[in-house]
Amino acid sequence: MTVFRRQSPALRLWLCGSHTEPVSAVFASLQQRGVALLLVLAAGLATPALAQTASAAQEQSRSLTEWLARMHEASRQRAYKGTLVVAAGPHMSASRVWHVCDGAQQMERVETLTGAPRTTIRRNNDVITFAPDSKTAWVEKRESLGLFPELLRAPSNAIPEHYDVRELGVDRVAGYLADRIEVVPRDALRFGYQIWAEQKTGLVVKMQTLGGQGSVLEQVAFSELQLNAPVRMEALKRQMGDTRGYEVHKPTMKKTTAAAEGWQLREAIPGFASMSCHTRGAAGGAEPASMQWVFSDGLASVSLFVETFDPQRHNAEKSAAVGATHSFAKRVDGHWVTALGEVPTATLRRFVHALERTR
């Protein structure tokens, strides 16, 4: 019975000495769980009614922040390999995944099984993508990979202000029992998520992005998974460094700020904070630089792309969506702005309408 395994949140907080609940609430909670425990002991077996009681006692055993931290830790502590399937709109993609971590470094290899052959290897924030067909490799540093767990640290952790969590029981995914939780948005500016975390480790084995009325916009899941697989970091390192025969490209990106580029938001969009901003231009300067301003509420992210208005290409406002990724484009102060992110179109509209030129 898992009722023996898990601490109640009140007990855990009490033991940690960081509880914020009233003492009476803590004892009430302990008393409630104690009753459930005694009932189970007295009966000696789990009748349906008792199972229900135990289940109720487990409700909200973790906060949203605790769930997210557990999922993150699981990927940091485990070696695994498996087959990942992504379904987004009419697109279905699959890949083989190898993941290994030695505590200090994480390495991953993702090899696509659908579409053009492509192999992506990551060591912490460093990512290289090989395209064997064109013998091209892209080398880049993805700062967004290093932002966690800062996103969960107070006071910058605004996730619980905008999302709630519900625990929905246990399902079987890729052969493993997994806790199913739903991350419920507190307003209409963002989507919800349903996440399956492997029961023993917390590893995310399936995730759905939920739109209005709970419709599934996109889902990612392991169809097959081997935990604690013998993945060798040395082999991955060797593959990552072996670019022989490949033409290696590096993105020409320049860090900047929106203010320096002459842009600001007239009003903040609730929950979304500015995370980064950079410009990107063609190497030879053939085209003017475009700006990408990135926002996040901790779970969903939005990119604002600003480029020079071109009447040949940019004529009418337009919006589109692929899976959970929506876009909305509009002319703003002589520029063409495209907002893109895993949020409803209405949220993107608010971003674009709030954006203004400062000079």
Binding site: L68, E108, T112, R118, R122, F148, L152, G211, S276, K318
Partner: protein, 214 residues
């Protein structure tokens, strides 16, 4: 049709492997039988909703009713932004109507076929580089703008009739044909994915799902 057979659970493992271009050396033979368990599971599961267990026509009617009740976000006027709903988190959400998403979308797609105009499109050679209006763009027959969730790819011209076609209906579903937008989506996936879910799932998702094959 291969996709249809897969959706119906009639596709054999060997055919699935062919379709997914598995490299037999890279896939553990012992686990091949499980490789597409997710797909089968998703396809076989009936949505645990009220509609489940009823006839297909009743289910379809339920889906259509639900779709009609959804406000299309893409057409929401700027002046009527949805207000914050502080109580939303406390609402008990019913299981996703399209939890078995492939089947659901197939049903939704078939339903839309009845109402959507006949679609024809011809693609000029080298389409990805030639999608710009006025630059020899393929002539695309637009589908009717559909509600969010009806078809996962949608395009709506907000201020004027669609001068820049974005979405086309094909027998395989609705597809985006906008190379510039696809490029921006790739940039967003690579540099914009700032989320606490990035490490456990987001990176893998993005490295796997990359239709423009960057």
């Amino acid at each position: 049709m291969l996709l249809s057979a897969m959706l119906d659970g009639e596709l054999g493992e060997a055919e699935l492997n062919d379709w997914l271009s598995c490299d037999p050396e890279m896939v553990d033979a012992a686990t091949q039988g499980q490789s597409y368990q997710l797909i089968g599971e998703a396809l076989r599961r009936q949505p645990p909703s009220v509609e489940a267990g009823t006839s297909a026509s009743v289910f379809l009617a339920g889906v259509q009713t639900r779709l009609r009740s959804e406000a299309p976000a893409a057409t929401t006027p700027a002046a009527s932004f949805l207000p914050l709903q502080a109580t939303r988190a406390t609402q008990v959400r019913a299981p996703a109507a399209n939890d078995a998403v492939f089947r659901w979308k197939l049903v939704a797609g078939l339903a839309s076929l009845a109402g959507v105009m006949a679609v024809s499109w011809s693609v000029l050679g080298n389409a990805p580089a030639g999608m710009r209006p006025g630059a020899g763009a393929p002539q695309l027959a637009l589908s009717q703008p559909s509600q969010e969730g009806t078809a996962s790819v949608q395009a709506v011209a907000d201020a004027a009739p669609a001068a820049t076609p974005l979405a086309v209906n094909t027998s395989q579903g609705v597809l985006i044909r906008d190379a510039e937008l696809e490029a921006l989506m790739a940039e967003h996936r690579q540099h914009g994915g700032v989320t606490a879910l990035q490490m456990p799932a987001g990176f893998l998702r993005n490295a796997t799902f990359d239709p423009d094959a960057r």
